[in-house]
């Protein structure tokens, strides 16, 4: 009696061993490190490695190791976070135009764990330090902007078609066109209907004047809002990437919010500067009439301007701008239908489209360039003091030949890869924010506070654990020791599952673990009290063990499911830290059912099972 078949013991042992393996990476310390990437995603070359080494050595900063990482990144490990900060200053100070450096924590794992791709738990911002910003996108403004565009487009349409209107204005959520007589109005209504089929048109008059009202359908309004949110996310992501943060999180939250989390970032002021930067695009014709070399040598024609492309090659462009970025309404990556080459599809608003058509008709076969322009305020450390300055970046991101005249929608080919096409589409859309943004929530945790939180959290887990272990051993003796052992295994399993899922561990998450330590013994308490009861009722030790586990099972399941319900509600409602609490609570309850029921039974069976037992030490 009370023996588990071999396979069951092996299965339990197997699960525990796998758990230990997954939990193992958490035992190794994490080095304060700097992740170095080439500017604009370029790989760091061997020469670059030497440059960075030299920069660190010149500044007298000691580093532990320099490693190559996937994607041409470089990881510089330091012994202390003080060295890490000085290291970043050294790299930023001398090499900031070519490299982005980001503070991060890198686990110092031995080779075999790294080969298996195992990672320690993902620490939340409150534990590792960093900046959390919640951004609200002004959706009404996005819709207003769309209507403003229609107002302009309708005005030009009517003027071009020689329809005599009095005024075209935006009247709250619709476009209002005023006419002197009903006949003109009907004529205009038909025209607008053909050109802008997506608008809902409605006629009206107030006795003296006649009107056409155009409004967006609810579906279109939703589409405008969705587009605004997506474009803002793309814009912000590009800007955050430029900031150089390891593992940034930028995601949509709800209907109109964007969450930006930057682990390891320390300067919220700088983040806000970057998020608030303005970037735009311009389309210009390439000056084919003059020599680029002459221009480089200083003889730039008055009608032209010398630019550089991203690799630093000079490009001579005409001063006259064809189209600017705020006339771009959409951009998407795809493939050219004829050649199969990667392409970017761009949509312009009415005004931009007309201008584009005119210029391209006159210049078929000639090259046209896309110029990327960015204004931002940069803060650099000069002699240890932050100095702000405004920087305007202008660079040519693409040059391609005009194959045929085009207007509202066109494609840009001549890109190297579909990846580049994708990036260009992103850049085009990221050119400007589609709607104004406002920071509605900010949480910054300094690195020292993060470390304090880890220390205090870990200390409470250990002390709580020891108290429970002592109490259980004293109260239930041998059975208590079994409960203690499985409680420890439960802790290992929680850590293993958290590491495996890479779920974010937060300070409330640690509190959840502490709480589970207290509650996980509950299952064992239920079982042991049952066993005691059976013994009091005169059952044999073996029968008591059997009945104790049997009878307690349904109670344990019922009791734990109610807590699981609370955990699920917490998870679905909660924001960051609360979610962390819910996750550990949930995982802790599930693993505790495995360890407290199956694990403890296996141990008890090994100790007492299959032999004559006089008394149970319970």
């Amino acid at each position: 009696m009370n023996r588990y078949p071999l396979w069951k013991n092996l299965l339990i042992l197997g699960v525990i061993l796998v758990g230990i393996l997954f939990a193992l990476p958490n035992l190794f310390s994490q080095n304060p490190s700097i992740e170095v990437t080439g500017a604009r995603g370029l790989e760091v070359t061997d020469a670059g490695v030497d440059e960075i080494k030299a920069a660190l050595e010149n500044a007298g900063v000691e580093y532990r190791a320099i490693e190559r990482r996937e994607g041409g990144k470089l990881l510089v490990r330091f012994a202390t976070s003080g060295d890490q900060l000085r290291g970043q200053e050294a790299i930023e100070g001398t090499l900031s135009d070519r490299y982005n450096s980001a503070l991060t924590l890198a686990p110092d794992l031995p080779g075999f764990l790294r080969t298996l791709g195992l990672q320690p738990m993902f620490l939340g911002l409150d534990l590792r330090g960093g900046i959390h910003v919640l951004i609200d996108v002004d959706m009404d403004a996005a819709v207003d902007q769309a209507l403003e565009r229609y107002t302009g487009d309708i005005r030009t349409l009517l003027r071009k078609q020689k329809v005599r209107y009095l005024t075209v204005t935006r009247d709250r959520k619709r476009v209002k066109v005023k006419f002197r007589d009903a006949r003109t109005r009907d004529q205009a209504e038909a025209l607008i209907g053909t050109e802008f089929g997506e608008l809902v048109l409605e006629g009206g008059d107030d006795g003296s004047a006649f009107f056409v009202y155009g409004s967006l359908t609810p579906t279109d309004e939703q589409a405008v809002k969705r587009f605004a949110l997506e474009q803002n996310i793309t814009t912000l992501r590009n800007r955050v990437n430029a900031l150089g943060v390891a593992e940034p999180i930028i995601q949509r939250q709800g209907e109109r919010r964007i969450l930006v989390q930057l682990p390891g970032a320390r300067d919220p002021g700088r983040l806000k500067e970057i998020l608030g930067a303005t970037a735009t695009l311009e389309y210009r014709l390439v000056d084919t009439g003059h020599s680029v070399q002459d221009a480089v040598d200083g003889r730039v024609p008055v009608t032209s301007k010398l630019y550089q492309d991203r690799d630093g090659r000079p490009v001579l462009l005409l001063r006259r701008v064809i189209v600017t970025g705020d006339q771009i309404t959409d951009a998407a990556a795809g493939f050219d239908q004829r050649s199969g080459q990667p392409a970017v599809f761009v949509s312009l608003d009415g005004q931009g489209a007309r201008r584009m058509r005119k210029v391209t008709t006159e210049n078929v076969g000639k090259p046209m360039a896309v110029v990327f322009i960015e204004n931002r305020t940069l803060t650099r450390l000069v002699d240890g003091k932050p100095v702000k300055r405004k920087v305007r970046t202008e660079e040519v991101i693409s040059v391609a030949n005009i194959l045929e005249p085009f207007g509202r929608r066109f494609q840009t080919t001549g890109l190297d890869s579909s990846n580049e096409a994708h990036n260009l589409a992103l850049l085009l859309r990221a050119g400007a924010l589609a709607a104004p943004i406002e920071i509605v929530e900010e949480r910054t945790i300094g690195p020292s506070l993060g470390q304090d939180n880890i220390n205090q959290g870990v200390r409470s887990v250990i002390i709580g654990f020891i108290l429970v272990v002592l109490f259980m051993a004293g109260y239930y003796r041998v059975f208590g020791l079994v409960a203690d052992l499985v409680l420890f295994v439960n802790l290992v399993m929680i850590v293993a599952v958290l590491s495996l899922l890479q779920a974010t561990l937060t300070l409330p998450g640690i509190a959840g673990i502490v709480l589970t330590v207290g509650m996980a013994v509950d299952a064992n308490v239920l079982i042991f009290e049952r066993i005691r009861e059976e013994i009091r009722n005169g059952s044999s030790p073996q029968a008591s063990i059997h009945a104790g586990y049997e009878k307690a099972l349904s109670t344990i399941v019922d009791a734990n499911i109610t807590t699981l319900i609370a955990a699920v509600v917490l998870f679905s409602f909660g924001t960051g830290p609360i979610k962390g609490f819910a996750v550990t609570l949930f995982i802790g309850i599930v693993t505790s059912m495995f360890t407290a029921i199956l694990g403890s039974r296996a141990l008890i069976n090994l100790i007492y099972g299959g032999r004559r037992v006089g008394r149970l030490a319970i």
């Binding site: 509605v440 929530e441 654990f465 502490v514 349904s554 509600v569 924001t575 609570l585």
Partner: protein
């Protein structure tokens, strides 16, 4: 012997149920009055506003911090020590209609940094816009409602509707008294505390379910005695487990309260209060409610017969 302390008990729990009802009623009354008169001291998460925690290299006088803020043009702030005399917490109320919100923290830190000649470190910034705060308050209430509803459905399915109502009464009792205490002593009620209250809901239920489980089992097993006697037996059989589990949970929560740091303080406190009240309510409130609703043996008899009939149906 000490180990025998909780064995073979024959306490007449239900005989004291009237005193318990009065006790609970008084507690709830105090809680409601405290909530109505004083209200909850909602933290930044719900009200919106700005909070900045800075750490100085040496102990610092609050006066000099205030002076530094005033020089930076920020006089309307609450300044207090946080944990140690080197850590300072600065709170700024949300400014209605003022758009600078998120830039405020930068201004605060730069003026402090200037005043302390850089010998100060930014430890934490929390800025919550008023609209976010309002949403959280609403979502928090909804979450509480959903948790209670989900549990009500589960218990009703697993047991019987009167047990479901009984467990929810115990639950509301625990939640009311816990947040009532927070209102009474004006302890800051922030997001983690809300999470703790939701965890209390889970814990309180956990306790109640274990008792109900035993009551159901005994209703089916014990042929003699009325409902009150059966419930008494059940409570005596489960009291050891109830106390042991509550005790271990309180052990770890005390560890969290003492060693977990300032941020987790009210969170741990809410849980401690909730666990104590939850333990009491699973013994007295839940069972008493079930008796008041007139549960009898017949209600909990296994429904095997119906199942057998169904099986034999064509």
């Amino acid at each position: 012997m000490q180990m025998r302390l909780l064995k073979d008990l024959k306490i007449d729990f239900m005989g004291r149920r009237r005193e318990a009802m009065v006790f609970s009623a008084v507690l709830i009354l105090i809680a409601i009055v405290a909530l109505a008169m004083r209200g909850l001291n909602f933290g930044l998460d719900f009200t919106g506003g700005t909070l900045i925690e800075v750490g100085y290299e040496d102990a610092v006088e609050l006066e000099s911090v205030r002076a530094g803020l005033a020089t930076g043009g920020l006089p309307d702030t609450t300044v207090q020590h946080f944990g140690t005399s080197r850590d300072v917490l600065i709170r700024i109320a949300p400014e209605a209609g003022n758009a600078v919100g998120s830039d405020l923290s930068d201004r605060v830190f730069s003026s402090l940094s200037a005043a302390a000649e850089g010998r100060v470190e930014l430890r934490r910034v929390e800025f919550v816009g008023p609209q976010v705060g309002d949403e959280l308050t609403e979502d928090g209430g909804l979450a509480m409602l959903y948790a209670i509803l989900g549990i009500l459905i589960y218990v009703a399915l697993r047991f019987e509707y009167r047990f479901a109502v009984g467990s929810v009464i115990a639950l509301v009792h625990d939640v009311l008294i816990t947040i009532g205490l927070f209102a009474l002593f004006r302890i800051p009620f922030d997001l983690p505390v809300l999470a703790a209250v939701l965890a209390v809901i889970g814990y309180s239920l956990n306790d109640t379910i274990v008792v109900f489980d035993r009551i159901r089992e005994n209703f089916r097993k014990i042929r003699k005695g009325d409902a009150i006697a059966v419930i008494n037996t059940s409570l005596n059989q489960t009291i050891a487990r109830t106390l042991v589990t509550s005790f271990t949970t309180l052990l770890v929560l005390s560890a969290l309260f003492i060693f977990g740091g300032e941020i987790i303080h009210s969170f741990a406190l809410a849980l401690i209060v909730g666990v104590v009240i939850g333990t009491y309510s699973s013994i007295y409130v839940a069972s008493t409610s079930v008796i008041l609703m007139g549960v009898s043996k017949a209600d909990l008899m296994p429904v095997k017969k119906e199942g057998a009939e169904l099986d034999s149906m064509p």
